[in-house]
């Protein structure tokens, strides 16, 4: 009896010490997950997720404090990539409602102040001082930072339209559609 108690106590103490030492010496300084997550984000620092920038959002994700669906410009693709990296299931049901957007400049209202070109992190707006600006739609990912700084409200955020080439069939939603 005493032998059993003694041996278990010794084993517990030894293993506990090893673990304690290991946690001290093998500790990882920076969370590598955080960097990997940041790598998946668009990096435009738009702040639509509610965090200051992409790195802060990545940090929150790494600590499991934020949902993977918050990145609006990244859309479904980024949400899925984040979910995969974190090994969670993304609830994409509310994500799809918003859909991807792009910025559009109403040229009659633009005064050529250049604020939006400075704000745009992906160089999607071209223009010169006192000249009308325009958005290169292909390079715009709808972060809406320009929308917020435009002094004349010349910028509109538009939904990326569904075209004949981007349209595809929706998931069949028959209530009886039981596949095994």
């Amino acid at each position: 009896m005493l032998f059993a108690v003694g041996s278990l106590a010794v084993m517990g103490a030894t293993l506990g010490t090893i673990l304690g030492v290991a946690s001290r010496y093998l500790a990882v300084e920076e969370n590598p997950l955080e960097q990997e997550l940041q790598g998946l984000l668009p990096g435009s620092q738009c702040g639509q997720c509610g965090y200051v920038g992409c790195s802060q959002y990545a940090a929150a994700l790494a600590k499991n404090e934020a949902a993977v669906t918050l990145c609006t410009p990244g859309g479904k693709a980024v949400a899925e990539a984040l979910a995969k990296k974190l090994g969670v299931t993304a609830d994409l049901s509310d994500h799809e409602e918003k859909g991807p957007e792009y910025a559009f400049i109403d040229e009659s209202l633009c005064i050529g102040c250049l604020r939006c070109t400075q704000e745009c992190s992906s160089d999607a707006i071209v223009g010169a001082p006192k000249q009308m600006h325009t958005v290169i739609t292909d390079n715009c990912h709808g972060c809406s930072k320009c929308f917020k700084v435009c002094p004349t409200e010349a910028i509109k955020m538009c939904k990326v339209p569904v075209t004949l080439s981007s349209w595809h069939w929706e998931k069949p939603d028959s209530p009886h559609a039981h596949v095994h």
């Binding site: 668009p42 990096g43 435009s44 410009p73 990244g74 859309g75 479904k76 693709a77 980024v78 899925e80 990539a81 991807p100 992190s121 992906s122 160089d123 999607a124 292909d138 390079n139 715009c140 990912h141 569904v162 075209t163 004949l164 981007s166 349209w167 595809h168 069939w169 929706e170 998931k171 069949p172 028959s174 009886h176 559609a177 039981h178 596949v179 095994h180």
Partner: protein, 485 residues
């Protein structure tokens, strides 16, 4: 000719007898034609006419834009009423830019390019240019620009031009009729294409349920050593490019490759006929033969229809609707696309207009999968539809992709046989579309990211330059610290 077995497939009820004995009739010229800019795979054409322009028959209305595209011509003479948004003949029901042409009834020809007198002596590039100019696309339904496909001979050593007269879809008889009535034109077009491709051999493959077409084509090909007409087994989807190639050559096209890399290029019979017209007479693609059939059509027929005719006018010509259809389909019942309504134009890839009754579609609510495995047995692509659909239902598209859902070409065989009426192909179409969209989104994100990083690097460089300048200024004039501010 020795044929090779092809895996899987089904034998749907063909119902071709409703139109197979009816000769092609020409549709009287409609008063208004609607010519969409996208009647083909690739970039939409760019209009070269504007509202109010007067055009003649065969005149260019919109030119091809970019390497994969096709122009559109005026099917008759008249006035451009508008270039506007019109519902596309597409299941989305989305509008697309369409040139509206009001016919003047004179049907006056424009000046056409000169016929190529001896195509077999002509440069193959000249033939390809002519085909591209004439707006010819794959008329079996895929509508891929034919000139691009005729270019395959420049990168590959081709042995065979395979002319696809299988017409394995139920109901459709337009290719059958074209072969029976215009056998010589088809064979001439095929030989011209073979010349352009540099393929020494032409094989014309026809399913054995079309004995008259086989006979007519064999007769027309008699004495031409390079042309062989061969009957292939009746087995859906024999008309699939890869499967037909396998049946004829015994070789399986590797995933992600083209049949051209095996030395085979496949073109449809109606395409061959269109090439004949373009090369011999300089006539662009202005009309096509459409099978109008289905239980809800008053008088089924094979009709030569000017492109841009509204489906509703075509149906009216065929005796109208005898009862409300359950589905209106562009193409065959297996791979055809449903049309949102009848007020959409006939386009180049439209081989059939089917107004199907509920009895014909036999749609039923789907029930639990009983894992009967029939879908696995019949899948001509060797996939496991039951497992893929289960993954897709659980939104695990990645697992479905791993099982090869992107290899599926939506032939419809699995949905057709499923005793539980599970819309398997619908699941796969959804998955393929969704995966492609995710792919596009990922590419865009990568592009934006590269731009963001470039801008950040540039700003950093500017900031660094400013700091350096400041430091230099500071070093040069230590007595005036405010200069660095």
């Amino acid at each position: 000719m020795k044929l090779f077995p092809v895996r899987g497939g089904v034998h749907p009820e063909y119902r071709k007898e409703r139109t197979s004995e009816l000769a092609i009739v020409a549709l009287p010229l409609p008063s208004t034609l609607y010519l969409p800019l996208q009647q083909h795979i690739g970039a939409p054409a760019e209009p070269v006419v504007a509202e109010g322009d007067l055009v003649k028959k065969g005149q260019l209305l919109a030119r091809g834009a970019g390497p994969v595209s096709a122009p559109t011509h005026a099917p008759t003479s008249g006035r451009i009423a508008a270039v506007t948004q019109v519902t596309a003949p597409h299941p989305s029901g989305l509008p697309q830019t369409t040139i509206v042409l009001e016919a003047d009834g004179r049907d006056e020809w424009a000046e056409l390019p000169a016929p190529i007198a001896d195509p077999f002596a002509a440069d193959s590039q000249a033939i390809r240019d002519r085909v591209a100019q004439s707006g010819i696309v794959g008329m079996g339904g895929a509508a891929f620009p034919s000139a691009v496909k005729l270019n395959l001979g420049t990168q590959n050593r081709l042995e065979t031009l395979l002319i696809n007269g299988a017409e394995c879809e139920p109901y459709l008889t337009c290719d059958d009729r074209v072969m029976r009535e215009y056998a010589a034109e088809v064979i001439d077009g095929a030989r011209i294409m073979a010349h352009a491709l540099g393929a020494p051999q032409v094989v014309i493959a026809i399913e054995q349920n079309k004995p008259q077409a086989l006979a007519e084509m064999t007769r027309a090909a008699a004495g031409i050593a390079a042309v062989t007409v061969v009957g292939v087994p009746v087995q859906y989807p024999m008309g699939s490019e890869r499967h037909l190639t396998q049946a004829i050559t015994g070789r399986e096209t590797p995933a992600g490759k083209l049949t051209a890399e095996l030395g085979v290029v496949v073109h449809n019979v109606a395409t061959a006929r269109a090439v004949h017209h373009a090369v011999r007479f300089g006539r662009p693609l202005l009309a096509r033969v459409v099978t109008v059939s289905g239980g809800a059509i008053g008088k089924p027929a094979n009709v030569e229809v000017p492109l841009g005719t509204l489906v509703s006018e075509l149906v009216a010509f065929c005796g109208g609707l005898s009862q409300p259809p359950r589905r209106v389909v562009n193409g065959g019942p297996m791979m055809g696309q449903p049309l949102p309504n009848l007020d959409v134009p006939v386009i180049k890839g439209m081989s059939g207009i089917l107004a199907l009754t509920a009895e014909e579609t036999n749609e039923q609510p789907s029930r639990a999968c009983i894992r009967c495995g029939t879908c696995v047995t019949i899948c001509p692509c060797g996939l496991v539809p039951v497992e893929m659909a289960a993954f897709i239902r659980k939104d695990n598209l990645e697992a479905a992709a791993k099982l090869g859902v992107t290899d599926c070409f939506s032939c419809g065989s699995c949905s057709y046989v499923c005793p539980s009426h599970i819309p398997l192909v619908h699941y796969f179409n959804y998955a393929k579309g969704s995966l492609a969209a995710a792919n596009r989104e990922k590419r865009k994100n990568d592009q934006v990211k590269a731009l963001v990083e470039a801008k950040a690097a540039r700003l950093e460089k500017i900031a660094q330059a400013k700091r350096d300048a400041a430091a230099r200024a500071k070093a040069a004039a230590p007595s005036t610290p405010e200069a660095s501010a």
